[in-house]
């Protein structure tokens, strides 16, 4: 271990933090411009900071880089000549990475949009998702995420943007309103004469739902229907008893089985839909994307 440390120390004279890409790029500018001031101008840095960077490099390599000529121009020393020549291999490798990253940006970055399966079925979610799919630079794809796991999915990176009705409070997330899901009343046919009247059910999304309107039929109160049971009836409506009434989000429903009912405009039947993403997310476009989504929200 001691030997290793010694060896590292021995060869580590030049392996200091000063020999980073920022310093090496500045060196190349100075070499090309033959002037600290011109080099500074071309990379938007002051002459003073360029001079300091060259001094750091000289200290790291333990050798002078430039000397001043009779007319004030900088003359590269033998080490600077060699360094500039040798930097072409490193520059080529850096360019390859830059090109690769640019290609990923140009081809569109994958945006994993997560939501609960129930929110996924809503018309509002599908409109938003279609909107995301139509944007350049993004390749939106869907991941089913349980609302209880939304935070973990965002932190782990398995989901980039979560759309749901719950509003978290954690400071590491940016949470903004992205739309609003309308709720409607659906009737599953009429119970036959002498048959028991179906029950009235209220569906919530991620545990949230607007206050349901009072039913015209007196004496029928709303019962809670969990999301899984609602999704089951959506897929197999024939299993839902006749005469059932559901207060549920606006989704594509089979009109052969379900008859939507108009709700008076005075009754609030919207549930806000929120989008959440990690504050420190790698996608720099997410805040702008949220602004685009927000412009779609009705002014009401």
């Amino acid at each position: 271990m001691d030997r290793e440390k010694m060896a590292r120390q021995e060869e580590g004279d030049s392996r200091t933090s000063a020999v980073d890409f920022r310093h090496l790029s500045a060196f190349q500018r100075v070499y090309q411009e033959k002037s600290y001031a011109h080099a500074g101008q071309s990379i938007f840095a002051t002459r003073k900071s360029i001079v300091r960077m060259m001094q750091n490099l000289e200290r790291s390599f333990d050798t002078p880089l430039f000397s001043e000529g009779l007319r004030g121009e900088l003359i590269p020393g033998p080490f600077a000549e060699r360094l500039f020549n040798d930097l072409r291999f490193l520059n080529a490798a850096r360019h390859r990475m830059k090109d690769h990253i640019t290609a990923i940006h140009e081809n569109g970055r994958v945006l994993h949009v997560g939501s609960s399966p129930a929110v996924f079925r809503t018309r509002e979610f599908r409109n938003l998702f279609r909107g995301l799919q139509s944007l350049d630079g993004i390749r939106a794809c869907y991941s089913a995420v349980d609302p209880a796991d939304a935070g973990r999915a965002l932190v782990s990176g398995h989901c980039d943007l979560y759309l749901g009705c719950q509003v978290g409070t954690a400071s590491r997330f940016v949470i903004q309103e992205a739309g609003s899901i309308s709720f409607r009343i659906y009737r599953r046919g009429e119970a036959g004469a002498g048959e028991p009247q179906g029950r009235a059910h209220q569906v919530s999304l991620d545990g949230k739902a607007p206050e349901p309107p009072v039913l015209s039929e007196g004496g029928r109160g709303w019962n809670h229907l969990d999301e899984a049971a609602w999704l089951h009836w959506l897929d197999r409506p024939e299993e839902c008893p006749l005469g059932t009434i559901i207060f549920a989000p606006d989704v594509e429903m089979d009109r052969e089985f379900w008859q939507p009912e108009e709700i008076p405009e005075a009754v609030a039947v919207h549930q806000p839909l929120h989008a959440s993403f990690l504050r420190q997310h790698a996608y720099e476009f997410l805040p702008a994307l949220m602004s685009k989504l927000r412009t779609r929200i009705p002014a009401s």
Binding site: F61, T63, A92, Q280
Partner: protein, 306 residues
């Protein structure tokens, strides 16, 4: 778009290699939050996530995986640049960097810097697992004094000044612990015990030869072997009865095995006439006069001593 900085790429590769933020931090000699912050910064610079972070550990994203060879290229070029810079600095300041194996002759030839006039020599023993041939090629070191078996040390671009060339293989044991009859000796009997072998820095290519020979000729594999970095370690291990020593060339002559109370037998002498070479190795295209002069001086000194 700004391209990533070298430190971020080094930490990225450490995390890829270790698969854990804490292990990467340990490898890089920084704290775990520092690694985490550097990775977040790198992801923001390049504009896409590189890792999935879960309670069970970290896994790389598909896009992150595609970036690994590119990052490795950059880090390699950067390291090479620094090595070349260090080489120029040594040339300018008349320094010569020398690595040696753990042989007695290499230890004897080490001479104090003041004896060599203007040149300052920096000596170091070859680190465990270090590829000294690669280190010579990429300017990490200027001269290497090491042993090699058969053609293992003969590679393009590296020149060898042979100091000793010896035939066959020597097998040695402590008669207090092992009873072998030198008249009717068989190698399979010896390798049934723990084998004391030279590490690759002492005789590059020997372990591979012995493994292959045992497999193909006797149909057995070297189950238990102790690899020693220095000849004195090997002699001590053999004296303590930890195993049977199998070393290339005339190990008795080099390591004075009889003086240590060990019994020996030579084998492969006829089929491997130039089995072991101890030599001075340097870059074939070396032009630094100080390095060439040091090689000449060292060669002369070794020739006299042998």
């Amino acid at each position: 778009m700004i391209t990533p900085e070298i430190r971020e790429l080094q930490i990225f590769l450490a995390l890829v290699k270790t698969g854990s933020f804490s292990a990467a931090a340990q490898q890089m000699g920084v704290t775990q939050p520092a690694v985490s912050a550097q990775i977040v910064k790198l992801e923001q610079v390049i504009g896409f996530p590189l890792f999935y972070r879960g309670p069970d550990g970290t896994s790389i994203t598909e896009q992150g995986q595609a970036l690994v060879p590119l990052a490795e290229d950059i880090v390699k070029e950067y390291t090479d640049l620094l090595r070349r810079a260090a080489y120029w600095k040594r040339s300018r300041t008349n320094q010569v960097k020398i690595w040696t194996d753990g042989s007695r002759v290499a230890q004897e030839v080490r001479m104090p810097a003041q004896e060599t006039g203007v040149v300052t020599e920096s000596w170091q023993e070859i680190e465990i697992g270090k590829d000294w041939l690669g280190a010579l090629r990429n300017l990490e070191v200027d001269i290497v004094l090491a042993g090699s078996f058969l053609k293992a040390g003969d590679v393009p671009g590296i020149k060898t000044v042979p100091v000793r060339q010896q035939r066959g293989v020597t097998i040695a044991w402590n008669p207090t612990y092992y009873v072998f009859n030198p008249e009717s000796f068989s190698l399979p009997d010896a390798i049934a015990s723990t084998a004391i072998l030279p590490a690759a820095s002492l005789a590059i290519g020997f372990r591979e030869f012995l493994d292959q020979w045992c497999r193909s000729v006797y149909g057995i594999s070297l189950e238990e072997a102790v690899e020693c970095r220095s000849e004195s370690d090997a002699v001590n291990a053999c004296k303590l009865g930890l195993g049977v020593m199998i070393f290339p060339g005339d190990a008795d002559e080099r390591m004075k095995l009889h003086q240590a109370g060990l019994r020996t037998v030579r084998t492969f002498e006829f089929i491997l006439p130039k089995a072991f070479t101890f030599g001075i190795r340097y870059r074939a295209d070396e032009q630094n006069p100080q390095i060439l002069a040091t090689v000449a001086r060292m060669s002369e000194r070794l020739r006299k001593s042998s």
